[in-house]
């Protein structure tokens, strides 16, 4: 691009900014929406992404009237808390009113003829709101606890010698929380700091917000095309590349303002409301590379959609819908750890997925070139293809074809 072209592109970028400032809906989509998502998801995912999950409060219903079942439930509630209930209807009511998050029903004949507990005689009822990780923890604790009952039964049958081997005090108690193994995610090991929901949410929703530049871009480009403004610009000697370059420049710069706002929300607004603060000591070089690559890819895709759509409605529906699907696929809406393994692999192969991988490497761990450069390269390649595919339609409309 010549220096004249660069100056023209700069004026096109300024014009795009001016138009955006007078477009409250566009501003809301680009700034309010991702900020709101960060706030909501930083609290919504607060305990989901932590490695340590508490055992949920449990209601016990003993349909087995034997003394072992009674003692087992008593020992459980001594260690983990919980309440005893008298009927299935009561348990259902307690779950509905969130007095408990889970219910354990010990059905009749819980012990077999040798006095061993049978897992198939246990029913586990879960609240609709229980976290999957908490339900898993409950299942694991119940399995361990039943194993202890079985060992005690075996020890009782073996007589005093076995009781000595097993130890008097340890037979009934579950290990206290302090005795649990230390669980750490890889990014915690790499970075030396704990994973928080805000650390996950800021890059994820920043990417989402960046890709929504499709709305203001489509609004202006479809109007320019349909009213003949693009053709008029051609009569002023403006090449299609300059038009695209100006828009690219304007919205890439806008993405940096989005970034600043999201960092402010994560660092200061979320803690003000009681959440964790975003950790900001990020590796600057990799951080800048990932933001730039993501931004160029987002604006490139937006230009492609806007250039190819016949109307603003079509561009907004296609762009907005595509962004939501890409975000769901990439693990922005549902964090990757909550996806099944196959879905996690699929989610790595989308533009938002590349952006999220690279950004999370920057925001969560201590990234190296292997983690960041391939993702940035994929995003830049994707952007180049999008811009190339947008050039044709813009050129055609500049030529009034």
């Amino acid at each position: 691009m010549t220096s004249r072209g660069l100056r023209q592109a700069l004026h096109i970028a300024l014009k795009e900014w001016r138009l955006l400032l007078r477009n409250p809906h566009g501003l809301a989509v680009l700034f309010l929406m991702p900020s709101a998502f960060i706030l909501v998801m930083s609290f919504a995912l607060k305990s989901t992404l932590t490695a340590v999950v508490d055992v949920p409060k449990t209601g016990w219903l003993l349909e087995d009237v034997g003394p072992v079942a009674k003692q087992w439930s008593q020992e459980w509630t001594n260690v983990h808390g919980g309440i005893r209930l008298q009927s299935r209807a009561q348990l259902e009511e307690a779950l509905r009113h969130r007095q408990v998050l889970a219910g354990v029903i010990v059905r009749p004949d819980w012990l077999d003829v040798q006095g061993r507990p049978r897992a198939d005689r246990i029913e586990l009822w879960l609240s609709n709101r229980i976290q999957p990780a908490a339900a898993s923890r409950l299942r694991a604790e119940l399995g361990y606890s039943m194993l202890q009952v079985q060992m005690k039964t075996a020890a009782a049958a073996a007589g005093p010698f076995a009781s000595v081997l097993l130890g008097e005090g340890s037979s009934a108690d579950s290990p206290p929380a302090a005795g649990m193994p230390v669980i750490r995610y890889l990014y915690e090991i790499e970075s030396g700091r704990a994973m928080t929901a805000v650390q996950q949410s800021v890059p994820a929703w920043l990417i989402f917000g960046m890709f929504f530049v499709v709305i203001p871009i489509a609004g202006v480009l479809t109007q320019e095309r349909n009213d003949g403004t693009l053709a008029r610009m051609a009569t002023f000697g403006i090449a299609p590349g300059v038009v695209l370059g100006g828009k690219l420049l304007g919205f890439v710069l806008l993405n940096w303002i989005q970034l600043l706002l999201m960092l402010v929300v994560g660092r200061w607004v979320v803690p003000m409301l009681g959440g964790d603060a975003l950790y900001l000591a990020l590796p600057t070089g990799w951080f800048l590379l990932m933001v730039f690559a993501t931004s160029v890819a987002a604006v490139g895709l937006a230009l492609l959609i806007a250039a190819r759509a016949r109307s603003f409605d079509e561009a907004a529906a296609l762009g907005g819908g595509l962004n939501v699907v890409l975000a769901a696929l990439a693990g922005i809406m549902v964090p990757r750890p909550l996806m099944p393994p196959r879905m996690q692999v699929v989610s790595e192969w989308s533009p938002m997925g590349w952006a999220l991988d690279g950004m999370q490497a920057v925001f969560l761990g201590a990234p190296d070139a292997v983690q960041v450069v391939p993702k940035a390269a994929l995003l830049l390649g994707f952007a180049a293809i999008c811009l190339w595919l947008s050039w044709g339609p813009v050129r055609r409309h500049e030529r009034a074809e």
Binding site: R4, R7, Q8, H11, K15, R18, L19, R22, N23, V220, Q223, N226, D227, G228, T229, A231, R232, M233, A234, T235, F236, G237, I238, E398, R399, A400, E401
Partner: protein
């Protein structure tokens, strides 16, 4: 009335000419333009007439270089290519910018030095009577103001040739009279104007010559007064509308 952009004294030098223009839209079998010839001289207004779909806008796009004809050529006389500006039928500007912001944006596209750019904006604001509304958002302007802004943007280029496509559609009589005055002044100052319209009385008021197109072909063209008197075995006509109906027949068009 403010002065139009300065221009050398009018002479009848042909600035722009088109010879044997053939144009067919992609994937269409019919020609939109079939062998159209046209010449535009400095300081003249040529009325381009024709029913809807006759090829007027296509011809303007060809003259602008926005469409490449499959046959024929567009050429210019003189050492430098004349500056050709265009005011399209649609409002080709940004409704959410003020009139002045629109002018500033388009003048920036010309990449002029800052002082020169400012001067041009002031000049076209005066010429088109936009000073009073310069800070008004274009979307809030009346139809007449928008038409003036549409032409003002074209005048920023200080054109040798001005192509106007239905420049008075949807404006009140006052704005129409103002616009016609402006165009007349531009012609007097030496600008060549191609004036495409359906309003016969406007053509009669400002144009010396006409070109009547239909089905992509020139039905008749030449000096307006001569044509009205009846030339080439045609009868004399009471007015331009009678001439138009005589040549294009009365059948309804698109």
């Amino acid at each position: 009335m403010a002065a139009a952009p300065t221009r050398p004294v009018a002479s009848m030098t042909t600035l722009l000419s088109a010879k044997g223009i053939h144009y067919r839209y992609p994937k269409q079998t019919d020609w939109a333009l079939k062998g159209v010839d046209l010449g535009l001289s400095r300081g003249e207004a040529l009325g381009l007439l024709g029913p809807n779909g006759s090829g007027k806008s296509t011809l303007i796009n060809v003259l602008l270089g926005l469409r490449k004809p499959q046959g024929g050529s567009v050429s210019h006389s003189g050492e430098r290519r004349p500056v050709i500006a265009w005011a399209p039928q649609d409002y080709a500007f940004y409704p959410r910018l003020t009139c002045r912001e629109n002018l500033s944006f388009f003048v920036a596209m010309l990449d002029l030095p800052a002082g020169q750019a400012r001067a041009r904006i002031q000049q076209v604001e005066r010429t088109c009577g936009l000073n009073e509304f310069a800070d008004k958002l274009a979307v809030h302007c009346s139809g007449g103001m928008r038409r003036r802004l549409n032409i003002a943007i074209a005048l920023l280029q200080q054109p040798d040739v001005l192509l106007l496509d239905e420049p008075t559609v949807g404006v009140d009589p006052q704005s129409r009279a103002f616009l016609l005055d402006q165009i007349r002044q531009l012609v007097q100052s030496g600008t060549a104007v191609l004036y495409a319209t359906h309003y016969m009385e406007e053509v009669s008021t400002i144009c010396d010559r006409i070109l009547l197109l239909d089905h992509g072909q020139v039905l008749v063209g030449g000096d307006l007064r001569t044509l009205l008197k009846g030339a080439d075995r045609a009868p004399a006509f009471e007015n331009l509308e009678a001439l138009f109906m005589h040549y294009t027949r009365r059948s309804l068009r698109d």
